[in-house]
């Protein structure tokens, strides 16, 4: 605490009543001369894995997604990863890292959760339990408890960014939390939902909100913008301005919060493990994978990953960032130019400690019969196997502890070969 600068301290006080250093660290890894950093980014709302990492080499992809496909020869060409997959063009930093061997992508991955509720899906994703249910302990916190106590000289701390500590890091192991001075503004997704509710229930409120937003201007600008606060949306905006300034604002929020986290984690006395969450991925309508809302969000995420790389400095070589989401989205586009809740999706891994440059996928295919319930990308990899592989090979969590971190996960063997030099 004493090392945090003054403005951060104020935010810390606001965010959490209980703040103290936590004295566990990945001792086994340190015995090897490594000092690993591990940052988990939770994307709330369910990321469309097929729009982030597109199977451009699968002949069934174009029929499935029609004019919403990413193309290697499009106006904004998708970034090639291997013979089957290409990355969304909004993510050039991740692509650069991938080519440098500092990023990997796991596709057709899912938690054990098979229903389609965000809340329950996020609980399973973050708790590490096989099914939803009341819990206040996340798998990352349990993993910390499984590490050997370290000495006073090298305290490590769990670290949470944002006013709401993500469940994944909550639990008995103390958590240091930090709230960025700026909060993520209420985005257009929330605004759209409120407006939709008003249109069905309260014409006067709907009219008031519409007038303040200047909906026509938004429609003329090519879709809803996920990045604007409602009050900013309330400012009159010329139809010609496609919200680039607001897109920059969400980019700035992502990069600032995660970049600050990286700087804290890079310090010799800083936390070794951290978690934060980004909202806004529930793209039911006007998904905009190539140029719209999802592209803007993926671009902001891409900037956040670059901010980690920058913020970590030399410790980037000891770093792994895992970007995970509660489930995927429907394989087909729905009637409102978006996608509904699905099952399998992608997990994005980045960091200098990775043996990267690979898309890891037991590809299930996209023919109707190959889809889960004839609608979702079928999961072929258990996300817990991926995380267990990282916890074991990166943080050096002992094998016998992994079972406690993810109860009832014997079927999900730790994935090997994710981490460099192991």
């Amino acid at each position: 605490m004493r090392n945090l600068h003054a403005t951060s301290r104020r935010e810390l006080m606001l965010a959490s009543g209980v703040l103290f250093a936590w004295a566990h660290l990945p001792k086994a890894a340190r015995a090897e001369g490594r000092d690993p950093r591990f940052l988990v980014i939770v994307l709330r709302g369910a990321l469309d894995g097929l729009a982030a990492v597109a199977p451009v080499g699968d002949p069934d992809y174009v029929p499935l997604r029609g004019d919403k496909v990413l193309r290697l020869d499009g106006q904004a060409p998708a970034l090639p990863l291997d013979r089957l997959f290409a990355l969304n063009p909004a993510m050039p930093n991740l692509h650069r890292l991938y080519r440098a061997g500092h990023a990997s992508i796991v596709h057709a991955v899912a938690t054990p959760y098979r229903e389609r509720s965000h809340f329950d899906g996020q609980d399973v994703l973050e708790s590490g339990l096989p099914a939803p249910g009341a819990t206040d302990i996340g798998w990352l916190n349990r993993a910390l408890s499984g590490l050997e106590p370290g000495g006073r000289v090298d305290p490590a701390k769990a670290f949470a960014v944002g006013p709401v500590t993500p469940l994944v890091v909550r639990g008995p192991a103390p958590v240091l939390s930090w709230t960025p001075p700026r909060l993520q503004p209420a985005g257009d997704d929330t605004l759209t939902r409120v407006l939709d509710l008003y249109r069905h229930t309260d014409a006067a409120l709907a009219k008031a909100l519409e007038e303040r937003i200047g909906l026509a201007a938004i429609a003329g600008a090519g879709g809803m913008d996920p990045t604007r606060g409602a009050a900013q949306a309330a400012q009159p905006r010329p139809a010609a301005a496609p919200g680039a300034q607001q897109a920059n604002q969400v980019r700035a929020y992502f990069a600032e919060s995660v970049g600050s986290a990286a700087k804290f984690m890079a310090r010799p006395d800083g936390p070794r493990v951290g978690a934060l969450a980004f909202d806004g991925w529930d793209t039911h309508a006007d998904e905009g994978a190539v140029a719209g809302r999802l592209a803007a969000l993926l671009g902001a995420l891409d900037g956040a990953i670059a901010a980690v790389e920058t913020g970590m400095g030399p410790t980037w070589s000891d770093t792994i960032v895992a970007v995970v989401t509660e489930f995927g989205r429907t394989a087909r586009i729905n009637g409102t130019e978006g996608t509904d809740h699905g099952t399998a999706t992608v997990a994005l891994l980045a960091g200098g400690a990775l043996k990267g440059g690979r898309v890891i996928a037991d590809w299930p295919g996209l023919k109707t019969a190959q889809l889960r319930d004839q609608r979702d990308l079928k999961p072929t990899t258990d996300l817990r196997a991926v995380i267990k592989g990282l916890l074991r090979d990166h943080l050096r969590l002992p094998d016998q502890r992994l079972a406690a971190v993810f109860p009832d996960s014997a079927g999900a063997k730790p994935m090997t070969g994710l981490v460099a030099g192991v």
Binding site: L14, R44, S117, P163, P185, T190, V194, L197, R212, A230
Partner: protein, 523 residues
């Protein structure tokens, strides 16, 4: 959805908590029992209903003296600094010369607290009347000047007047969050707004909270006449509407200095506090009434009883005065008390108050049948405000849901905090939210107070979305939306609202949708 006599008790109870109370919180449904009307009556029948017990809060006079001492110290420090040759710093030309005592120059933190003049910078019996005029003029500048957000001091604690202001605000918020039902609290807010003063006027920042506790709250379940006397003789009101320096032209002070009346308070008593605008009074009544209440002023803060009310006979216009056709013999302080007593039981006052209660609690559209009931009850009970409130919640018209109004910003913010069961660790974000939504606490732009009409507030709907987002993310990260919707709306929740909450992409978004739902925005 209609909440009428036929609805079940639970629906009526939740509805009553929104319309007449401060919104449901965990357990408040149990407090309502099976008899929502009875629970509302019980809420205002409690001993000390609507009163705030906070022994560490200063009285208005103590606050005024403390603020004066604070400014004096600052002034001395600055004078000392100026005496050093290398300590030259910018000063505001002219002001120091014009106000050697506690003038505007004595407020280095003036943007935060006060315009700098002492509490009632009037001049009771002393002979240097000109001294504080400039300060008072500065204080009388439009409140809009200070309507913008006040910048918090980053380095260290805020100035003392602001500290007192924030402690008062905290006590008020705590009372609102602690209330089981909040009907008495809502009535306290109503009367505080009816008889509003503003922290943006002169030295009133440290006094506004105490004013509400001293002049308003003890009488919320008492008599209108008593509240009226308490309000119009309170130093906060006397300074706010300039009566503290109103001088009878024929009084000793008036003859000595050629000073005269200030009609501000007299006019607003007739127009806003009692009879109502364009009713039964004339400009002559205003002038005569202003003469009646000359001498109602405040002890200068440097004196032992500083900041307290005092009747100063040297400022009082001598002689009988005729107001509204009735002649009041010269009885010094009693002359004004007698006029107020007459005003308090005037039928026009009853009608004014009744219509305003209906507009606030029920509908922007007049509901003549309901207003008549309340006015009659007011007259029949000699202005017993508890009886008037009981008449309000006993009338079927008050439970009509045809017109459900948007909650005012302050009501909505408190309802939101109650719904998610959060007492914010700091008052700052709550104050900022109220500022953003256009209802800064204890800082109305004019003596009329904040408006009750929905049209005033509906344009702030987009800002409410941002406030919801911020409140939820700062304070309610772990709240279960499914439980919150049952607490906050229960049977009032529409299927559409329930579906939207269930389908939200995250719990924080679900809670934001709950707080933005029409059933939650309206009451």
């Amino acid at each position: 959805m209609a909440v009428s006599a036929g609805s079940d008790a639970t629906t009526q109870a939740v509805f009553a908590l929104h319309r007449f109370g401060l919104g449901p919180r965990a357990g408040s449904l149990a407090s309502m029992g099976g008899d929502p009307r009875g629970a509302l009556v019980a809420d205002i029948s409690r001993p000390r209903a609507a009163q705030i017990t906070a022994p560490d809060l200063p009285t208005s006079a103590e606050a005024a003296r403390a603020a004066f001492e604070f400014r004096e110290q600052r002034r001395q420090q600055r004078l000392a600094a100026r005496a050093e040759p290398d300590a030259a710093r910018p000063t505001r030309p002219g002001r120091d010369a014009a106000a050697p005592a506690p003038g505007p120059s004595a407020a280095p933190a003036g943007r935060d607290d006060v315009a700098g003049n002492d509490m009632a910078g009037n001049d009771m019996a002393s002979n240097n009347a000109a001294r504080n005029d400039m300060a008072n003029d500065a204080a009388a500048s439009p409140p809009a000047l200070a309507a913008g957000p006040r910048r918090a001091r980053i380095d260290g604690v805020p100035p003392l007047p602001q500290q007192i202001f924030l402690r008062e605000a905290r006590a008020r918020l705590d009372a609102a969050l602690a209330a089981d039902i909040g009907f008495a609290e809502r009535l306290a807010w109503f009367w505080s707004n009816h008889f509003c003063i503003s922290a943006d006027k002169g030295p009133l920042r440290p006094v506004v909270g105490a004013y509400e506790r001293e002049a308003i709250r003890p009488h919320v379940a008492g008599r209108f006449a008593d509240m009226l006397q308490a309000v119009e003789s309170h130093p906060g009101m006397l300074v706010y509407l300039d009566n503290a320096r109103s001088i009878g032209p024929e009084s000793i002070a008036g003859r000595n200095r050629g000073k005269g009346l200030n009609e501000n308070l007299a006019r607003e008593i007739l127009e806003l506090h009692t009879l109502g605008v364009r009713t039964v009074y004339t400009q002559t009544d205003v002038t005569r009434f202003a003469a009646v209440i000359t001498g109602w002023t405040v002890v200068p803060p440097r004196e032992p009883q500083g900041g307290a009310f005092i009747f100063n006979p040297r400022m009082h216009e001598p002689g009988a005065q005729t107001v509204l056709g009735k002649t009041y013999p010269d009885g010094e302080l009693d002359q004004g008390k007698a006029v107020l007593a007459t005003l308090a039981r005037h039928p026009a006052t009853a009608r004014h108050v009744a219509a305003k209660l209906v507009r606030h609690f029920v509908s922007d559209e007049p509901v003549p049948a309901l207003a008549d009931k309340l006015a009659k009850r007011f007259m029949a009970t000699d202005g017993d405000l508890k009886e008037v409130a009981i008449a309000l919640v006993s009338a079927p018209e008050a439970w009509d849901t045809a017109h459900r109004k948007l909650k005012r910003p302050g009501e909505w913010i408190v309802a939101a905090l109650r719904a998610v069961d959060v007492a914010p660790p700091e008052i700052g974000p709550v104050m900022q939210a109220q500022n953003l939504l256009g209802e800064p606490l204890w800082r109305p732009a004019a003596p009329k107070g904040f408006a009750d009409e929905e049209a005033t507030w509906i344009d702030g709907l987009a800002q409410r979305l941002d406030v919801s987002n911020e409140l939820v993310r700062r304070f309610a990260g772990r709240v279960d939306p499914a439980a919150a919707v049952e607490t906050a709306l229960g049977p009032l929740a529409s299927d559409e609202t329930r579906t939207a909450i269930r389908r939200a992409e995250s719990r924080p978004q679900a809670l934001t949708l709950l707080l933005m739902a029409p059933e939650f925005q309206r009451r």
